[in-house]
Amino acid sequence: MNKIFFSFLILSFIFATSSEAQKYFTRDGNINFISDAVLEKIEAKNTNATSVLDAETGKLEFAVLVKAFQFEKALMQEHFNENYMESSKFPKAIFKGSIDNFEALDLSKSGTYEVTVVGKLSIHGETQPIKTKGSLKIDGENILASSVFSIQVEDYGIKIPSVVKDNVAKEVEIMVDLKYQPFKR
């Protein structure tokens, strides 16, 4: 009987500690991208990126609804969803990774930290490894995160017809800018 009680004690202890681990999240992160081609510069904005950062392990994850990208021109948005991203088939873009130099950071002190993020980016049903630089700024109890990196659309199985090769760039620059809040259960 004692043993059972003891086991439950340990169990509850495990659950308790794990939920205390400090995590940060956002549901309204900004992820924008620019396609700068010869004839046309296309910009799109998404203000509903979801992300979670585990401040204990340095792991972080992002999810973005492809349909939530807003373009200046309605037709661009339609082509983006219908012809390039096939957003009804692949509704989300997801990143899962971690901060490479996490051991060297002390997030309890305020300041701005340069970080290297490595992980896997899944877009349009294709997953590719990504390594990029970014920064974390401790802002009171929140963490501001930002990063800029580029991807080749071809790597993600997105074909650009030759008719529009001067309108849509092969390399797209992605800008991430978000504010993490402490996650409370």
Binding site: K3, I4, S7, I10, L11, I14, F15, S18, A21, K23, F25, R27, K45, T50, S51, V52, L53, D54, T57, K59, L60, E61, A63, L65, K67, Q70, F71, E72, K73, A74, L75, E78, N81, E82, N83, E86, S88, K89, P91, I94, P161, V163, V164, N167, F183
Partner: protein
């Protein structure tokens, strides 16, 4: 024995607990249910002659140039109809994402046409699940020929009105279907014709690739509403999209491009080769940029 069992239990539990967390941080936030509106059931706001459930986006001007050549059965002398062409120029404008207005000018009987179209239901899934898109269309045709077809010279005799409900659904990524119960009123008709015509339209689109689709459109006029020399409009064609243009190439038994003309006055008989080759070219301009 009991001891080992419990220890094992704890181990498994703690392992599950940790692994669940490490695998998927995002699951902590839970799935936020959103409503996703289904767009682009058709490549443009026309299927062939008639309207599709699509409207012109807010602030977008859609310039359309359409041709219907002569009938194929006119033979080589007329180069299978290519020597003759009916032309329509038109502008459609999206006042909001749901409300579209448009005007056009047809060489056929010098008809000026105009319409107003309102999308009152949008197909969506997720939090709000709506299986169809629905729109209302009201259109006016005005015959601008020098000679009034009415011997009494009343201007109203040049007019015809169309009211239509368009109900459609993007059933899969590639396939869309719509039905269009339609009422056409012509103020002046020949002695053997009826002023009021009820028609049931059906139209579909099947994508062949990301940029090409095959379309069909049929306006059935049941019973003996049409005189013997007039036929229900039947058309099929291809939509080809390139950047800012949509090219629609088609074969049809209808000569006119306005509602009155193709729904109630199609003279071509498919069985007899009374078919026109035609095209619509749509080019969109963003007149008002969207706020981000």
């Amino acid at each position: 024995m009991k001891n080992t069992f419990f220890t094992l239990c704890i181990l498994i539990c703690s392992f599950l607990n940790i692994s669940a967390q490490e695998d998927d941080l995002l699951s902590l936030l839970g799935e936020e249910e959103t409503t996703e509106y289904i767009d682009a059931a058709f490549k443009t706001n026309r299927v062939i002659h008639g309207h599709s459930i699509e409207s012109t986006s807010e602030g977008v001007l859609d310039f359309k140039i359409s041709h219907r050549f002569g009938m194929v059965n006119t033979g080589f002398h007329e180069l299978f109809g290519l020597d003759n062409a009916m032309v329509r120029f038109g502008f459609d404008y999206g006042i909001t994402d749901r409300l579209t207005v448009g005007v056009g000018r047809n060489s056929f009987r010098k008809i000026y046409d105009s319409f107003i179209k309102y999308k009152f239901l949008r197909q969506s899934k997720g939090q709000k699940n709506v299986p169809i898109t629905a729109a209302w269309l009201t259109a006016l045709d005005f015959q601008g020929t020098k000679n009034n077809p009415d011997p009494d010279g009343k201007a109203s005799s040049r007019m015809a009105f169309t009211h239509q409900v368009i109900l459609g659904s993007k059933i899969s990524d590639g396939f869309s279907l719509q039905v269009m119960p339609t009422y056409v009123h012509r103020n002046l008709v020949d002695f053997n014709e009826k002023n009021d015509i009820i028609a049931f339209g059906i139209a579909a689109r099947q994508k062949l690739s990301k940029w090409v689709a095959v379309t069909f459109e049929y306006y059935l006029t049941p019973g003996d509403q049409l005189p013997e020399n007039k036929y229900s409009s039947f058309s099929f064609g291809f939509d080809i999209e390139t950047g800012g243009h949509v090219f629609q190439l088609h074969f049809t038994n209808s000569t006119a491009m306005t509602n009155r003309g193709f729904i109630t006055e199609s003279t071509g008989d498919w069985a007899d080769g009374g078919v026109h080759f035609g095209f619509n070219v749509s080019r969109v301009f963003t007149a008002k940029k969207r706020k981000n």
